[in-house]
């Protein structure tokens, strides 16, 4: 099973584990198909709350742990071009909007993607997700129309299905399931609870748990009708 060819793919997310659950199978599949993939991760998830009780990390040691996890996830996916952009978790919406647009534009100029994967503005819950999505929407809208990459957007707020309907793009990522499990496991400080639950459900043969190892879903985001131009 293959997914449609792209020249180059640029993934932009704010947190080190944002790619793991919904996109790592797609990233791995593109890489297997020989498509260059760049993953720009804006922060190191410095404000992550899963520190354990008893705690395994502190506010100050967490970024280094998550940096290693992010690199391990990239390794699991076979991703060579991982870029850590040096912003701080939970502050992206307070950065200058034009600075954020420029950051995205610089990435686009460098990578020349035919496809960008990011969050869907107003449907991605976390303030950093929303700010990232707005910056991508604005940067792409401001490009000459014929040069604009497509945007596949991840949406998961409670209103998603009601407002946006069913996802437009469904990738069969079955052949990358090992890579996807590897990416999930790499972010163990954040995904431990989720993984424990999942692996139990997998062991019980529950179909829904199998599902995310088979399919990843995206909405096509159109900057022409976006609020963020």
């Amino acid at each position: 099973m293959t997914i449609p060819h792209e020249e180059a793919v640029l993934v932009i997310f704010p947190h080190p584990d944002d790619e793991a659950f919904g996109v790592s199978g797609t990233i791995s599949t593109y890489i297997k198909q020989g498509t260059p993939v760049t993953y720009a991760c804006l922060t190191l998830g410095e404000m992550g709350r899963n520190l354990g009780n008893p705690p395994f990390a502190t506010r100050e040691s967490l970024p280094q742990i998550r940096k290693k996890e992010l690199q391990a996830s990239a390794d699991a996916m076979g991703l060579k071009d991982l870029r850590m952009m040096g912003l701080r978790d939970k502050t992206i919406e307070f950065e200058d909007d034009n600075k954020m647009v420029q950051l995205v534009q610089d990435l686009i100029d460098d990578v020349k993607p035919s496809l960008i994967i990011t969050f869907y503005p107003d449907y991605s819950v976390h303030p950093d997700h929303e700010a990232t999505a707005r910056a991508v929407s604005r940067a792409v809208y401001r490009m000459p129309q014929e040069q604009r990459p497509k945007i596949y957007a991840v949406a998961f707020s409670n209103a998603t299905k009601d407002d946006l309907g069913e996802p437009h793009v469904i990738h069969d990522i079955t052949e990358a399931r090992e890579q996807k499990m590897g990416a999930m496991r790499a972010h163990i400080s954040q995904t431990a609870w989720m993984l424990e639950e999942m692996e139990k459900r997998l062991a019980d043969g529950e179909p829904e748990a199998e599902n995310w190892l088979h399919f990843e879903r995206f909405y096509i985001f159109d900057v022409e009708t976006s609020k963020y131009q």
Binding site: M47, R49, N50, L51, G52, N53, P54, P55, T58, R59, E60, S61, P63, G86, R88, K90, V125, H126, P127, D128, S157, N158
Partner: protein
Amino acid sequence: METVQVATLQQHLDRFAGEDVFIHLETTNGAYANHFNEEVFNAGAFIRNVQLRYELAKVVGDSPHRVGLKLPNGWVYAQGITHFEIDEHDRLLMAGHDFSGKLAVALQISRTPFAY
């Protein structure tokens, strides 16, 4: 980090009294609180690398503890502190972790600025 021992933590708090120090103070119920439960009112506050000097510090109560700093013209306090450590840079890191292991509050004191 270790579980707060009041006498030990008090000694460390006393060490920084009367000096210019940098503070990290954070409370949070998580960016997803309202996503998982629409009844939850999402609130929190965050300051980092604000410099101040306190004249008196106290750790009070049974766990989770309260920690208060008295300034010449005001106060800083945190509620819900369960753990602390002195890290390799001689910074006093205090935090409150809830029953599921999520950080709910942090108060940190350092003579040098915390990273960005």
